[in-house]
Symmetry: C2
């Protein structure tokens, strides 16, 4: 398979962005090709489209599968593996967010909870401990919200996003929530 100039440029861009997204160039390119393709593709088609080695494609597909970002399909009378991305972009976004949370947030939350078992001894440790508490609470607030929103069906989610600027007006009409001010009580400490 070979790519049209339009596809080509999109794929190249995804490759370059790959590194910023925490995946490597080839994985980004493989994803881009699958994303644009109207039909499922097998490894060989991807290989020729991108001009990389067969094993590289295999590893890339494996990684994309680990991210739940591609679907394995089979065509009748063909035992090769074919891959697609979901037609529904919202499903892709949900997967992306869920997987990033799993990899980038959850381990830190676990670690913070674990570290908070220790009682701080010195003044400096008390400050560090307080700082970790603040961070943990903030992450918990955000992931709690995410858990709620994630369960919304897509129609509702779009509705919520479209609401956008109206959010402010709505909040104005709600009572302030007591006991949730911006900062907790704050201790001052000295020393370099």
């Amino acid at each position: 398979m070979n790519l049209s100039p339009l596809q080509q440029e999109f794929v190249l861009h995804f490759g370059e962005m790959g590194s910023r997204w925490g995946i490597n160039r080839t994985v980004g390119q493989i994803y881009a090709v699958l994303f644009l393709s109207s039909a499922p593709l097998n490894a060989e088609a991807i290989q020729t489209a991108l001009g990389v080695s067969r094993s590289n494609v295999s590893m890339g597909l494996k990684e994309l599968q680990a991210w739940n970002l591609v679907r394995l399909r089979h065509l009748p009378d063909d035992r090769r593996d074919y891959f697609t991305t979901p037609d529904d972009l919202w499903e892709i976004v949900r997967t992306l967010v869920a997987e990033r949370k799993k990899r980038e947030i959850d381990p830190t939350l676990t670690k913070l909870r674990e570290l908070q078992m220790q009682r701080p001894a010195t003044a400096e440790d008390r400050h560090a401990h307080a700082r970790m508490t603040e961070l943990r609470e903030l992450i918990e607030l955000m992931t709690g919200w995410y858990d709620d929103v994630e369960r919304l069906e897509t129609e509702r989610l779009i509705q919520l996003l479209t609401l956008g600027s109206k959010v402010r007006g709505m909040l104005d009409r709600m009572p302030a929530i007591p006991g949730l001010s911006r900062r907790e009580t704050k201790e001052d400490e000295g020393g370099v």
Copy 2:
């Protein structure tokens, strides 16, 4: 400066997470040390705390400054540069989100808009074009929402997040928004 076991473990964790967050280990560790410290730190203190070279610290700080994640401070009668992270964690989150959007989303949005100037010729290109449109519209919807939320003062933002599960009930009481169904009209195409 040397770190307590509590600080040490937090710093090491941040270092390891660094790679998943798109920054490198040392940068993650530098940030962690500054985040926990009750007082501003100079480069030498960071160097001894982490046991890395002076130039590495310098580069790390430079990168953190490029991300707007640290503040440069000066103490009286001392011409060394001291650094801190903001006391307010919400400010940190806002910066983080804004910078990641700038680096990870905006370039793609620009590229998509640019690619859409081209008129698709083949059937396959028409499909690719449609797919890009879908993606662009989705990103625009999400960044539009972000732009609104970003302007909320922190109290309101917390209110919004705390609302969480109540969101669903609220949305139920709102009229559905016409013309914004889940998927656009969808063309079917064949061929491998």
